[in-house]
């Protein structure tokens, strides 16, 4: 085959591949020009993180503002140390609170940020002091049963006392 036709076809082939790469990167994936690649990290300690995993979303008012960079166990405080990578275009006050939430009933867990009112903003390496860990279903049920049992116990007690009198 003629060399120039070969080059033409291979050129078309490579360009097609390049366009499909662009489509995958921008239309299918999340590599959009809007998300400025730079982030700053903030640390938060939680009593319980539930099923939170690395790369889980960090949302504020429902908008994706960052991702969980790492989840570690803190051997000094005996709780979970979560590092958040927040997009540099979003700044949060120093007294922002973080909580582990669940999207939907069975959905994935994410971190929700509620902005505070401080003038100073969180910087790279700062810690979020106000945190609320994940709701654990077993504990909730346990507490519910315990309180029910206590209610039942006191009323019975009262009845018994009444009977004695």
């Amino acid at each position: 085959m003629e060399r120039s036709t070969l080059n033409l076809w291979v050129g078309i082939f490579v360009l097609l591949g390049f366009f499909s790469f662009l489509m995958l990167a921008f239309k299918v994936g999340n590599l959009t020009a809007g998300g400025s690649g730079t982030t700053y990290s903030v640390v938060a300690h939680f009593d319980n993180i539930g099923q939170l995993k690395e790369r889980a979303p960090v949302r504020s008012a429902g908008v994706l503002v960052g991702r969980v960079r790492s989840v570690l166990f803190d051997p000094v405080h005996y709780n979970a140390e979560v590092t958040l990578a927040i997009d540099s275009q979003y700044q949060f006050p120093k007294d922002t609170s973080a909580s582990v939430l669940t999207s939907g009933i069975l959905g994935e867990q994410y971190i929700g940020l509620d902005a505070g009112g401080d003038d100073k903003m969180l910087k790279n390496g700062d810690e979020i002091k106000l945190t609320q860990g994940a709701m654990v279903l077993e504990r909730l049920i346990g507490q519910f049963l315990f309180s029910k049992a206590q209610e039942g116990g006191t009323s019975k007690d009262g009845a018994d006392k009444g009977g004695k009198k």
Binding site: F13, L16, G17, S20, F21, L24, V28, N30, L31
Partner: protein
């Protein structure tokens, strides 16, 4: 007597295992030899372009059409199941993630092995059977650097391009079925896909997979052709072995790479 028969059986198992290990080792050694003699392919890149045409451009039709069909089937099946959970919009996530992570690289590599790998083996095998390779050696032209290396690099360059085209085409197919035919919401289809597909962990990992498959298929195809017995049966057997062993290699490598990519490298 039964002991004798058992021993013979065990010996046969051992013999077959050793043969397979020898074959794998010889393929890797041949890959090393090809890499060592690749300088000519890059100095005269026209040789590689010719092979990209035969391996890559001529596989375009089968890759594009199969990608479209696979994406359409994923759209139909995904919608059918997700409907039960009331989350039809997630069909875009399902189609995109399964294509970009797994089906794109793997299915296009399997198609590439049977479409282009077998052709490479048959071509090199026939060149050997008709003593063209020996003739080159007589003229002090290394057949590995002139015949094998350009075909190897042509395959390695074509594979990731074909895999990306397969994935892109499949997503278009899933879009056609889910959004245009069934009527899933257009915006939710794309936005949920974009929220779930990560560039580094999904798309780049898929491309890494396809490059590895390209190396494996091209190495096996050139090795089988070069080592084929120089007879008609020898070439036909070598062509079959190329398709069988590269398919097995693709699936085994895919399992190993997926395990590492999902669980991390530590």
């Amino acid at each position: 007597m039964p002991l004798d028969a058992t021993l013979r059986g065990i010996r046969q198992v051992g013999d077959r295992t050793l043969r397979i290990v020898e074959r794998v080792g010889a393929t890797v050694a041949f890959l090393g030899l090809t890499l060592a003699q690749s300088a000519t392919s890059f100095r005269r890149f026209g040789l590689v372009i010719r092979e990209i045409f035969y391996a890559g451009v001529q596989s375009l039709i089968i890759i594009l059409v199969s990608g479209l069909f696979v994406g359409m089937v994923l759209g139909l099946q995904g919608h059918e199941t997700l409907q039960n959970y009331g989350s039809e919009q997630s069909v875009g996530v399902l189609v995109a993630l399964s294509l970009v992570r797994e089906l794109g690289p793997v299915v296009s590599a399997l198609l590439f092995a049977s479409r282009a790998g077998s052709a490479i083996t048959a071509e090199i095998g026939l060149m050997k059977a008709t003593e063209q390779l020996s003739a080159m050696e007589m003229m002090a032209v290394s057949p590995i650097s002139r015949v094998v290396a350009p075909r190897f690099w042509g395959g390695v360059f074509s594979m990731p391009v074909l895999a990306m085209l397969f994935s892109a085409m499949g997503i278009v197919g899933g879009f056609l079925v889910a959004v245009v035919v069934i009527g899933v919401d257009d915006g939710a289809f794309w936005s949920q896909m974009q929220a779930a597909v990560d560039f580094r962990h999904d798309i780049v990992n898929g491309i890494i997979k396809s490059v590895v498959f390209g190396i494996a298929v091209s190495a096996i195809a050139t090795f089988e052709g070069y080592e084929a017995p120089p007879t008609a049966e020898g070439v036909s057997g070598a062509t079959t072995r190329t398709v069988v062993s590269s398919s097995l290699a693709i699936l085994a490598l895919d399992l190993v790479m997926t395990a590492f990519m999902l669980k991390g490298w530590n």
